[in-house]
Symmetry: C2
Subunit: 264 residues, 2 copies
């Protein structure tokens, strides 16, 4: 026989899955549930803790407990890379109209707010390995945040790394006030004579750290997608590495893999 908290969680979980209450609606108060199930409030809270960890409910102090409403997903497709490459050599007027995030999401430039912050950095072990350089090599770190106009929390958090000596060939690339750079990173690389051959993306999922939860405004029970993007140029050299944190409840990554035709 299961514990009381688990049994209560089971009952509430089944109710919620049956649409009772519906997404967005309020559950009974903790004290009311305690009376209904004839247990202490702490036991009810322990049951609600489980549902919250599963991402089924939202608890808001002073207002109540609500059934989680699925968020509309922001799509991010790997077709953005070829699209960005094709545009990297376009005239500036055209590059200025749309960025790759807008291309993905179908939004316009004014819907999204963008911020950039540049720093210098000595490559730590992990990064040095990714670039194939020695530890302590001078790097440029660029921190990007993108958010919806009108919302508080960003919908992604990006740390991009480039070898300092590589980008220093064009001093404009060291200036954060030049962001958002029309045409994005691939145009920036183009200005220093670099053409990309391929982009490799590694993805995992995990719960957010405390800092990420705060910065992205994630409620307990939301996971993050962790993306490490590696840009490799036509000489097989790693020229950029980005670490991107995306909220799992509002992001959908799309990867299309084209296949070669069978030979008859």
């Amino acid at each position: 026989m299961a514990n009381k908290n688990e049994r209560i969680a089971d009952v509430l979980r089944k109710d919620i899955r049956a649409g009772q209450p519906a997404p967005g609606e309020k559950l009974a108060a903790e004290t009311a549930l305690a009376a209904r199930f004839k247990v202490s409030v702490q036991t009810v809270r322990s049951a609600l803790d489980m549902l919250q960890a599963e991402g089924l409910i939202d608890r808001i102090q002073g207002r109540g407990t609500f059934v989680f409403t699925p968020r509309t997903l922001v799509r991010r497709s790997n077709e953005r890379h070829q699209w960005e490459k094709d545009r990297a050599r376009s005239p500036e007027a055209e590059r200025r109209t749309t960025g790759s995030t807008e291309h993905d999401t179908g939004l316009t430039v004014t819907d999204l707010v963008f911020s950039a912050e540049y720093r210098e950095l000595q490559a730590p072990a992990g990064l040095a390995k990714a670039f194939g350089v020695t530890e302590g090599t001078r790097m440029l770190e660029r921190i990007y945040r993108t958010r919806y106009q009108g919302e508080d929390e960003p919908l992604n958090l990006t740390h991009s790394f480039l070898p300092y000596d590589l980008v220093a060939a064009n001093p404009a690339l060291l200036d954060e006030s030049a962001e958002p750079w029309p045409g994005g990173t691939q145009n920036q690389l183009f200005t220093i004579g670099i053409e990309l051959d391929r982009i490799e993306e590694k993805l995992t999922a995990r719960p957010p750290t405390l800092e990420e939860a705060e910065e992205l405004g994630l409620r307990p029970g939301v996971a993050v997608l962790v993306l490490r993007k590696t840009c490799i140029d036509i000489n097989d050299r790693t020229v950029e590495v980005s670490d991107v944190i995306l909220p799992g409840d509002r992001t959908e990554m799309v990867f299309t893999t084209p296949l070669n035709r069978w030979q008859a």
Copy 2:
């Protein structure tokens, strides 16, 4: 001034990040921590709840609380698709030697245990839409589990769907005892004259449901990657849809996007 549970969580979090205790090592007992911080055991437990939700610690009843040890990641690359396509027309002896999961992970066939279960199904709304067929269309559902030899829990959980009338052209494809099928799904499709043009994969992250956590043996504080794979044939027809659940703490998805060369 923050609450006691948050302050305790902060102290422990900093200690853990500084390697004190190191991954795999045991934390002090809850009663000991309560004495050290001069609070009740419940308050300590509330602090540990936070660390557990962040995936920092493992709590094992009767043994103690341990700093989470990162698991070795199982890699899954999108290069598997082209690889599987190339092999789909190979002789059976060759197809039998390795599957695409083994290709990805570098393991041999004997390292992994595979199970399959077939069912018939009327297409619900979401699935019907993915295939572009009417709701209620007869589908074949195939449920796959792959796990390490010697481990209890599977490392993935796959629900694959095919239009029943399509696969019925080869009755062998309706027989679950023919699994694992040498050459995989792309060879199965080949037997009924289907060639794939591309594979589209959609990815999100979320905490596991109760059922997923049980089946995959996930500790609290582990997220899952949710993958929907859609196979599209050379006539632009959706021929297979798979939903794959992967444990976030042991899976790394790798996607390589090749870029076309700039024209001079």
